[in-house]
Symmetry: C2
Subunit: 385 residues, 2 copies
């Protein structure tokens, strides 16, 4: 068929295939990044103006852009509302960035591991992925400098706060060092922060974009992890040199983001009830995280190593005896357990076997122990083959 050259790189999303397989109600799923159903806030639509049904501006609702800019400034990001583009979930920010930057063979720099769906869209557009290994407190700085000395990436894509999938949160020192390196080499930063508000053990450090002196940047976030993913309301904030290009790409992609979701998001942003909701959410997830850690210690102490995540939605396990965890999926689903294999989070999956990403926010704690026991059995069986 006469498809485009890039269509030959069009891969399915393993995570969405697993989620589809895990639709059966009896399946205990550690696979997705879904908020807990019980913590979805009940929202009120009765005061929404009829005019929200009309076409809107590609930039997004003016009041929402103002509110998002104010929140970002409170985090130290120097910006105005004119730099805020409301997008249809933060995945769209990655799609727009890929269109703006990536031709076949364009080098982009990524953490290893990194967010699966970012990898998917960057590779689809033809990116040559240069990676920097993650350590417990952020990227390996020597590796980062070395890669920057030998490559000229179009951008570097980082998730510094409770990274997906690793759970890593960059230290203050590494944030400073990364910003200085990017300024030194003049590399554009795309900083993705869906999990900043989900901090269980204290505060978080300022975004890296707030520390840049010279480099161009795109900062992206979403209401999906704090409010309602079903609204599909995310945003990006860009340095002024990039904004006009991203706006045009947004126009061509879907004209503008749905206004009913934008209106609903605006009802919450900056309010006391959102603060209270976030406090409740953190408490709820903290309890689940701790219960998950306890169950992991029972069932995986001899099988894997891991850090306890201080935020976000995931544990990242490293098996003591590496094996291709993709080969465990069918066996896990056969005993009604879903998980996310670690390999697809690397541009070169076959070189990084033996990780599992486990979501702790979604499974009912009453089923947790049984679910992890079954998963541990599946890993043991896989290792003895």
């Amino acid at each position: 068929m006469p498809f485009s050259e890039r269509a030959s790189r069009l891969k399915g999303s393993l995570i969405r295939e697993i989620l589809a397989a895990a639709q059966r109600p009896e399946v205990m799923s550690f696979a997705g990044g879904l908020p807990a159903e019980a913590m979805l806030p009940v929202v009120d639509w009765t005061t929404m103006p009829v005019s929200m049904g009309q076409y809107g501006m590609s930039e997004g609702e003016p009041a929402l852009r103002e509110a998002l800019a104010a929140e970002a400034r409170a985090l130290g990001v120097p910006c105005e509302a004119s730099q805020v583009l409301v997008v249809s979930g933060s995945q769209q920010a990655l799609d727009l960035a890929a269109k703006l930057y990536i031709d076949k063979g364009t080098q982009v720099m990524l953490e290893a591991p990194t967010y699966l769906a970012a990898l998917q869209v960057f590779q689809f557009f033809g990116a040559d992925c240069i990676v920097v290994p993650l350590e417990a407190d952020g990227p390996d700085l020597d590796a980062l400098r070395s890669q920057l000395q030998t490559h000229r990436p179009a951008f570097i894509y980082l998730i510094p706060t409770f990274q997906n999938p690793s759970g890593v949160c960059y230290s203050e020192a590494k944030r400073e060092a990364v910003a200085a390196l990017l300024d030194e080499f003049g590399v554009t930063l795309i900083e993705d922060e869906p999990y900043r508000e989900l901090a269980f053990d204290g505060g978080t450090s300022r975004p890296i974009v707030s520390r840049l002196q010279r480099s161009s940047w795109i900062y992206t976030g979403t209401v999906s992890k704090t409010l309602l993913p079903g609204l599909r309301v995310g945003y990006l904030i860009a340095s002024p040199d990039l904004f006009p290009h991203l706006l045009r790409l947004k126009q061509a992609a879907d004209l503008h983001t749905n206004r009913v979701g934008q209106w609903q998001a605006l009802q919450w942003l900056g309010t006391d009830r959102l603060k209270q909701h976030l406090e409740a959410l953190r408490s709820y997830y903290r309890v689940r995280r701790d219960a998950f850690q306890a169950a992991l210690q029972t069932h995986f102490f001899d099988l894997a190593d891991w850090h306890v995540p201080e935020g976000g939605l995931f544990f990242w396990l490293t098996l003591k005896q590496p094996l291709d965890t993709r080969t465990l999926l069918d066996a896990a689903l056969a005993v009604d357990v879903a998980f996310m294999p670690g390999e697809p989070f690397f541009p070169d999956p076959d070189a990084h076997k033996g990780h599992l990403r486990l979501n702790f926010s979604h499974v009912d704690p009453a089923l947790l122990d049984e679910g992890l026991r079954r998963l541990a059995d599946v890993v043991r069986s896989g290792q003895s083959l």
Copy 2:
């Protein structure tokens, strides 16, 4: 800056720039394709389940896909719900198609004139646009055959029912002839139908995709012109060979379409109250269309030729003395009138001077006469320069 090669073709959307310039309340705008504010239905959200706030499936809500498939079958389009992909407004269908088909230099076939934002996204991805002139009842069939004999387009993009911008509705005979030609040459059809329900003078003919025997196809529609554009809910229905590719592209673009808009659309689809709303909408627009025609006859009889559109939202004027209507924009805005120049609706704007697209659904009829009088004066002044 190290942008992609395609970014060099990233143009702004003239229509959205005009809409921005026309934000001043005193401006009478004939520019956009906005539904009349007064006809936006009041919708009820009180029974929406909280679960609509959770992540959803990339394909769209199952019940909505079933309802859309049933509607399409009623139009003669042979399809199942499994072929329906809910998208974030039908503009997104064009973005997905462009990603799937278009590399730099890929030939695509279009009507001349054609929908501005389709042209924008196809050209952005690097399309080489092959055009077929439109006549009053559809494409020039000799030209279509001749183009098909000498080119191998990745697809042909058509808007057969109340075309934007020309208002043309293909005759039954031309629909049959186009389907036969596409089957003969094995060319994929993308059929875009946002205006089908806005028929003021009787019924409409079956979609062309329903007449294809062999060619692959994508049929796309939206609730934006019938219900609420602010929901950003559109859909595409694809032949089974294309669907899996489009689904993966949708996943990578924005995960899924917002669920609150999908839920609201489902409350209306196939119901009696939608039938009543559409009947009211048609009556309302018919009155506006007729008033517009009367005012045009008063002010433009010596300046332009046009057909009275039997549906859709636009009059398409051809000036008796062609001039570049883009040069009239500033003068029109200076007297608080906005319109859409015709040139950008052609891949080669400079070769098609002297058309205006005028929307008749949005301006208050009380202001219509004054607005068109001012616009006629602007055209006269432009011609005498």
